[in-house]
Symmetry: C2
Subunit: 308 residues, 2 copies
Amino acid sequence: MGKLLIVGTVAFDEIETPFGKTDRILGGAATFIGLAASQFDIESAIVSVVGDDMPQDYLDLLVKKNIDISGIEVVRGGKTFYWKGKYHNDLNSRETLVTELNTLSDFKPVVPTEFKDADVVMLGNLHPEIQMSVIEQMNQRPKFIILDTMNFWMDHALTELINVIEHVDVLTINDEEARQLTEEYSLVKAAEEIHKMGPEYVVIKKGEHGALLFHKEQIFFAPALPLEEVFDPTGAGDTFAGGFAGYLAASDNMSFNNLKSAVIHGSNLASFCVERFGTKRMESLKKEELEKRLHQFKALTQFDIELT
Amino acid sequence: MGKLLIVGTVAFDEIETPFGKTDRILGGAATFIGLAASQFDIESAIVSVVGDDMPQDYLDLLVKKNIDISGIEVVRGGKTFYWKGKYHNDLNSRETLVTELNTLSDFKPVVPTEFKDADVVMLGNLHPEIQMSVIEQMNQRPKFIILDTMNFWMDHALTELINVIEHVDVLTINDEEARQLTEEYSLVKAAEEIHKMGPEYVVIKKGEHGALLFHKEQIFFAPALPLEEVFDPTGAGDTFAGGFAGYLAASDNMSFNNLKSAVIHGSNLASFCVERFGTKRMESLKKEELEKRLHQFKALTQFDIELT
């Protein structure tokens, strides 16, 4: 059974979409990553920080999914990271209305002793120095380190970001961010530039347009499943990353071929995430539902052209 | 050997991209469709109209690809349809600088007698009444009618457009146009609405994000091949349609499974079209190059997840 260490935010999200709005609900990168990864046969732990305004119910929800939360620091008298956002009609663009870092601004992650030998480390979007400090706490180089990031760090901590990117096996990044980071418009060229920065694999996330996996000259594409309804895209990218990381930790095989399966599993999980507000759909998701939808992914992409 | 009848513009394009600009060069929907379809073992003909300013060299280029041009009316003293456009830096958006309909404004298509029994009819983007008049000239209902259209006709000839859509087997349309036509944001729902309008199949083109094929409950997705360089996107959609139509005419099999292959062939051809200005790449394209790139499409999309 593989061990997965997840680092990222556990947060309050307040979301408005064309279909409704929420109060402060459970969100955060590590939450979505953890819930998605919990679908696989692994041991997992989250390293994060929250204030004591975080309801025990939300933490229990993670524990119920067999996620070790001993690495989630609860700051007494502190407030949890809070994000409020609004999606436009097409759900492809969103506006951040409020960001309160709160306890996140002084976050010093501490990796639990039992996870210092994790096989896979999934570094959710955070300050690159925080991501780096997690790598440095590991007993040995993990088999596989996955890093997610965003444009904010390119604008405000580029040197530190480039430093941590050098130490990871996979960078997951969205298309616009890949272009910003490399100053290449073509995603093929952008991936080549990222390979040169260190990562052997690059995953470029294109939201409703799927995800591309690059490994040197090889490219694999996983579409997003076309859905009748997308209700709330919040957490879809992290859910994708969690499925990707969880599958790799469970299968203990870091070949390109197995990474292809991992991006399909990630896309599969993300297709459920967007069906309800926040974490709602992920909380109740069953293995049978995942299996059924994998058949749809096969039907969606597989074709029979005889080649010589 | 299947017979394919193509109706659409043969035109002058003047194109500016971030990589350079052209003079008036050969363009038009029927031109790109015809060149793409000529890669398959079919008899094909173009029905169109040009002025006598159209150089014989351009028409000869079509004849050299075994395309029957007896249905291309040459209007003495007339001027050929002319489009001038400029692509922005990302090549995903373009601006039309000039559109001169010229001889196209009085176009009355006449289907050559030998093609009134065509197996497949590909109606390129034109006024829906012109498209309808072609269907009406056929000796019998063709095995397969494919219709391409654009938002302009939704704005200016919606009744006529809805009428011709009812008579076809496949509507090919881009994502924004599918949304406009159906007032559904979800492409799955948009395709359902289009099915209700008549077509058994719907192809939604998403440019660099690939194409979706819908057939009732079934969905198939063909990605666009990620390319190092996209030089000029002009004609890519028509090239896709030409590959789709040409493959179907050659294989004489209109099953969903074979249509899946047809959209892959269309995507394959389109991936070459964008590598040079205008029709340049399509003029020299060899069957071996197509075959080689089909392997890339397989590698890009095929995965091995065991399903129960």
